[in-house]
Assembly symmetry: C2
Homo-oligomer: 139 residues x 2
DNA sequence: CGCGATTATATTGTGCGCAATGTATATTTG
DNA sequence: CAAATATACATTGCGCACAATATAATCGCG
């Protein structure tokens, strides 16, 4: 068979497997905050900028409303974010952290370091990884 | 706020976004075969070795029966694989390609090259990416 | 102003991914 | 050999992802 079709020769399979692996590495850390990984990404955005529309969140995370609407509703249920229609434009839903959600930031500050340690890659490797991936993402 | 919590400073977010992006790049190519990306990975395994147990597939793809059982049933429905209990050990389900599934390999040979082109990364970058990720995966 | 086009979000349906649990079959051990 | 244990797969339930479509609000253009 074609060598290129061998699983061991795939470039994208390690990427796919590693991405899931990383989510698993986050899990024990995020469990303490009661967040999933996509929910954590939303919180990162809201900790930076208190008010964001669904659209803005979607553009930053490359996710559409089919994913975000139910995800944000679950976060609202947990009491960590608010969702309210903009009065200026009734189509827009503005998302913001509640006090509870804002207060979680302190407990999250240790997560990046813990995760980097769990990955077991050097800073150079991490930088290379990020550089290569960002190059492909930007296109 | 902590610099490490900024979305733009995350290492894992680009990985997560890129992994999904790559699946989207595969989509038009795999649509012609009627496969999803995880199903394509299963076919790669079966094209290499005609008979594989659910367990062997799971170990190679890092997926459990909760994912594989329904996925393999869908592939069986499409008529591209067979699932049958081993007579030697009734617990084991042996998966193999049908003639239809085996015949799809020819049409798949062009996919790796097309995908690499779509990624827009140099061979060196692809090699680096694979090396770094594999190092983290092996641990 | 009115109406077609655009925009923002929601809904529906399908397919993963994974934790937790169930069930049947094998294997090990006393 | 029987009971305990381990193994292989299936099932259930939940949370993403994403395509396709729906709905409502706004915008732009004549």
């Amino acid at each position: 068979m074609s060598n290129l079709l061998r699983l061991e020769n795939q470039v994208c399979f390690p990427l796919y497997a590693f991405s899931r692996e990383v989510t698993q590495l986050y899990k024990p850390l995020l469990d303490e905050l009661g967040l999933t990984y996509p929910q954590y990404l939303v919180m990162l955005i809201l900790w930076e900028e208190k008010e964001q529309t669904v659209n803005q969140i979607g553009e930053k995370l490359y996710l559409d409303s089919g994913t975000l609407t139910p995800l944000l509703k679950r976060m609202e249920q947990k009491g960590i974010i608010n969702r309210k229609r903009s009065t200026a434009d009734e189509r827009v839903v503005v998302v913001s952290t509640t006090d509870l959600g804002a207060g979680m930031m302190d407990r999250a500050t240790c997560i990046p370091d813990q995760l980097i340690a769990a990955l077991g890659l050097s800073i150079e490797e991490l930088t290379q990884l990020k550089t290569i991936i960002n190059k492909a993402l930007v296109r």
